[in-house]
């Protein structure tokens, strides 16, 4: 243990060099910025900035900056979700549910503040985890094979239905539709085109981020056009900026639980940050004394998921730095960044490049602190956006969403996906169908499908493999319990109403 502290101190001695502090700061600022900008996420930004880092003086500085962009984007991603129901980043879809409701009630300030503070606490806890138990946990990520991933994704889909306040059947139907839409495109396992209806552009699948921005952001814009076809601002009041004492009481345990959940889920390949936020939301709703307030502006519904997605972003560095295995798109780009800087990420990295490993980790402590200091004062600035009149805000949201969408893949088809999703989002909004289960299931569809078929192949076509492996069996049992409890409690509520 002492040696880990010594090494961490060595890391700090590198991270506090002026040039490295500057890289961490630039990365934090850029990250916050692209997190706030809808569409353009950390993956695209890091890819754009990668060539610039060829010239950076030291490899450490480059990696510090690129990682700061990643966790900085997780801070910024919640801003537009709370203010405009426009997810700036895929991982903050869950934040739309209660964050935007809070903003509508004039509590945008506390929502933004608790998102920033929760992100800071979760980020810091996750870095402590990364520093001291990271390598031990890296094995855990590898032990998760196809059957376990399938069980986990199934649990995720089961939790989706709980996102909507209404009848579970609506949530379940939206989740099923999300799975179907998520499967459109060339099947990665067989190369066969699936459900593309003959459209070549759909062979690459429906792009996630434009769909989310359309479904939530543009759907909300159209809904507001319907509700108030006049020059009324989105929200009339701004209210207090900082959380109250009772907000703190509700948020503190949620932040703690979200950090732990996010850290563990973030280690796994695939949709770590998103799945972490989803599970955290479901847990908060379950343990809350007032589950009926969720979806109507419960602050724990912002604090938990926001903490979870930040913790997951940090812990996804564990497999990258200790095993050289990138688990998601962002860490894959960072992997390339390391390669270009002449550093081979892999099991030998701790030995061969201890300076990079510990320097980056130490810089994360500092970067998180910078982000907190940067983001808290910004809360006051962001809420001023609510004063922008709707007649100006609405077309501006559409234009920025269009530009941001094009910047993802330089592709006009994605812009079409954005606009059509806007129409669909409005239809579901008007019909009181919650879009969040669809979005979540869409994200999980790929993992669900691949792991199901991989597991069946591994088990020679039999389904017993899901139950005989202890990890997978346990997770499946949890998923079954979740569904059973949901149906039972809904049935009881209906019987009570009927009686």
């Amino acid at each position: 243990m002492t040696s880990a502290i010594d090494l961490l101190m060595y890391g700090f001695s590198l991270a506090i060099r002026p040039e490295n502090l500057m890289y961490a700061f630039i990365g934090s600022v850029v990250g916050t910025f692209v997190g706030v900008l809808p569409g353009l996420g950390p993956v695209a930004t890091i890819a754009i900035l990668l060539p610039l880092t060829y010239q950076a003086g030291s490899p450490l500085g480059a990696i510090i900056m690129l990682s700061a962009i990643y966790y900085g984007a997780m801070y910024g991603g919640s801003t537009t979700s709370i203010l405009m129901r426009l997810p700036g980043e895929a991982a903050s879809v869950i934040t739309c549910l209660d964050g935007y409701e809070m903003a509508k009630q004039g509590r945008a300030g506390p929502a933004l503040a608790i998102a920033a503070i929760g992100s800071f606490v979760a980020g810091t806890l996750a870095i402590i985890g990364l520093s001291f138990v990271g390598p031990a946990f890296a094995r855990f990520a590898v032990d998760f094979g196809p059957p376990e991933m399938f069980a986990l994704a199934l649990l995720g889909v089961a939790l989706c239905a709980s996102l909507s306040g209404g009848p579970p059947l609506r949530g379940i139907a939206m989740a099923l539709a999300g799975i179907l839409l998520g499967l459109v495109g060339v099947d990665t396992m067989t190369g066969v085109e699936r459900l593309t209806m003959g459209s070549f552009n759909l062979t690459g699948g429906i792009e996630l981020v434009p769909m989310l921005m359309g479904l939530f952001g543009l759907g909300e814009v159209l809904h507001n056009v319907a509700v108030r076809a006049g020059a009324v601002p989105l929200t009339t009041k701004i209210g207090k900026l900082m959380p109250t004492r009772s907000d703190w009481r509700e948020s503190a345990p949620a932040i703690g639980r979200g950090s732990l959940i996010g850290f563990l889920i973030g280690l796994l390949p695939g949709g770590g940050a998103i799945l972490g936020a989803l599970i955290s939301y479901a847990v908060e709703k379950k343990v809350s004394a007032h589950p009926e307030r969720f979806g109507k502006g419960a602050i724990a519904g912002v604090a938990g998921p926001e903490s979870a997605n930040n913790a997951a972003a940090t812990s996804s560095f564990v497999p990258l730095l200790t095993l050289g295995l990138p688990g998601n798109a962002v860490t894959a780009v960072l992997f390339a960044g390391l390669m270009i800087q002449n550093i081979q990420p892999g099991p030998l990295m701790l030995v061969q490049h201890a300076d990079i490993f510990w320097g980056v980790i130490a810089s994360m402590y500092l970067g998180n602190l910078m982000l907190l200091v940067l983001n808290l004062p910004l809360v006051g600035l962001w809420v001023q956006l609510l004063r922008v009149p709707f007649w100006l805000l609405a077309p501006a949201i559409v234009m920025i969403a269009v530009f941001g969408t094009y910047s993802l893949r330089n592709n006009w088809f994605d812009v079409g996906v954005l606009l059509v999703s806007g129409g669909v989002g409005y239809l579901f909004r008007a019909a009181a169908y919650e879009a969040a289960p669809l979005a979540m299931a869409f994200i999980l569809a790929d993992i669900l499908d691949t792991s199901l078929r991989q597991a069946l192949l591994m088990g020679d076509g039999g389904a017993s493999i899901f139950f005989t492996r202890p990890l997978s069996g346990t997770v499946l049992a949890v998923a079954a319990t979740v569904v059973a409890v949901q149906l039972y409690s809904y049935g009881r509520r209906r019987r009570r109403q009927g009686a």
Binding site: T188, L334, N342
Partner: protein
């Protein structure tokens, strides 16, 4: 806001955003776009970025890499095929692009004729790797086991129909051994599957390299026709008497590019193969640098496509 001030500010914003008009000169007189049909971070992306950087010196113009990923390169390839053949839009060719054709997929462009071939730059090294604790010391051991207990052992690759997969299918056809293919989601998924013992071996591009260096994994064979410089002790499939497919990396443009432009690009890109930074990157990615003139690249691609098509047909015939 006062309309007039806003109009003025808008005009200023446009002026700033609008790129300067270049003076007329010899090709290239403006930046060149290099379409990489993969997401950032993969071996093609990293290697072609290094090559683009080297070529900037030879061309005297920036070479801007634009990632257009999706549908195993077909989306980026279709964009490239549609682009104006003026030499300002070029792209990278990977074997995956024509492998799809071999599997009978309908593509919105002709896999061979839709492109002008500028130059070659390298081969991805495909290796067959097992965990160090695995009992098989030679490829022959593994193949014998696959024959003795058909369907018992599993292998991972980047996906069905990838060069990695077809390489192994060719081995199974040639030896009569049988393994179960567990396709992964791209190359990045294969190494975790091997480490977690969810598959028994993998046929993959250089993802195994750091684990081989550290001693956690062992290479049984590499796919290049000759042994790879970095692994002099590992036999190549060619020397063991097996057929193998190449994992091509080349620079191409849309069909109909004027010959002088093509030659200018070819000269610049082939010269860049000697660049220090590019060579370093290729070495780290375990990729072999190969220098071929454009017309040869086209012949090579045609030959590879023919062999892959034959292989797929034989696979289908044997019900594999």
């Amino acid at each position: 806001m006062k309309p007039r001030i806003a109009l003025f500010a808008a005009a200023a914003a446009f002026a700033a955003a609008f790129a300067a008009v270049p003076a007329h000169a010899q090709f290239p007189e403006r930046p060149i776009t290099l379409i990489v049909p993969w997401a950032p971070g993969g071996s093609t992306d990293v290697s072609s970025r290094a090559l683009a950087k080297a070529a900037e010196g030879a061309l005297g113009q920036p070479v801007v890499v634009v990632n257009k990923p999706g549908a195993s390169t077909t989306i980026g390839m279709a964009d490239l095929a549609r682009a104006k053949p003026d030499g300002y839009t070029i792209g990278t060719l990977s074997s995956s692009s024509y492998m799809l054709k071999a599997q009978g997929r309908d593509l919105p462009y002709d896999a061979v004729e839709a492109f002008t071939y500028v130059s070659y730059y390298g081969d991805n090294l495909i290796g067959i790797a097992v965990l160090n604790e695995a009992p098989w010391k030679k490829l022959a051991d593994l193949l014998a086991e696959g024959k003795a207990q058909p369907g018992k052992f599993k292998f991972g690759t980047a996906g069905v129909g990838s060069t990695q997969h077809l390489t192994l299918e060719a081995l199974m056809l040639a030896t009569g051994s049988k393994f179960v293919h567990i396709p992964q989601q791209g190359s990045a998924g294969s190494m975790p599957a091997l480490l977690g013992k969810h598959v028994d071996f993998i046929s993959e591009v250089s993802v195994w390299a750091p684990f081989v260096a550290q001693g956690q994994a062992r290479l049984l064979a590499v796919s290049t026709p000759k042994r790879a410089d970095a692994y002099p002790d590992v036999p190549s499939l060619g020397e063991l008497g097996f057929d193998s497919l190449r994992s091509v990396q080349a620079i191409i443009g849309p069909a109909g590019m004027p010959e002088p432009v093509r030659q200018r690009l070819e000269a610049a890109f082939r010269k860049s193969l000697a660049d220090e930074g590019f060579r370093n990157t290729m070495k780290k990615l375990s990729m072999e640098i190969v220098d071929l003139p454009g017309p040869e690249v086209k012949k090579l691609v045609q030959g590879e496509l023919q062999r892959a098509t034959g292989l797929v047909q034989r696979m289908k015939a044997t019900g594999g």
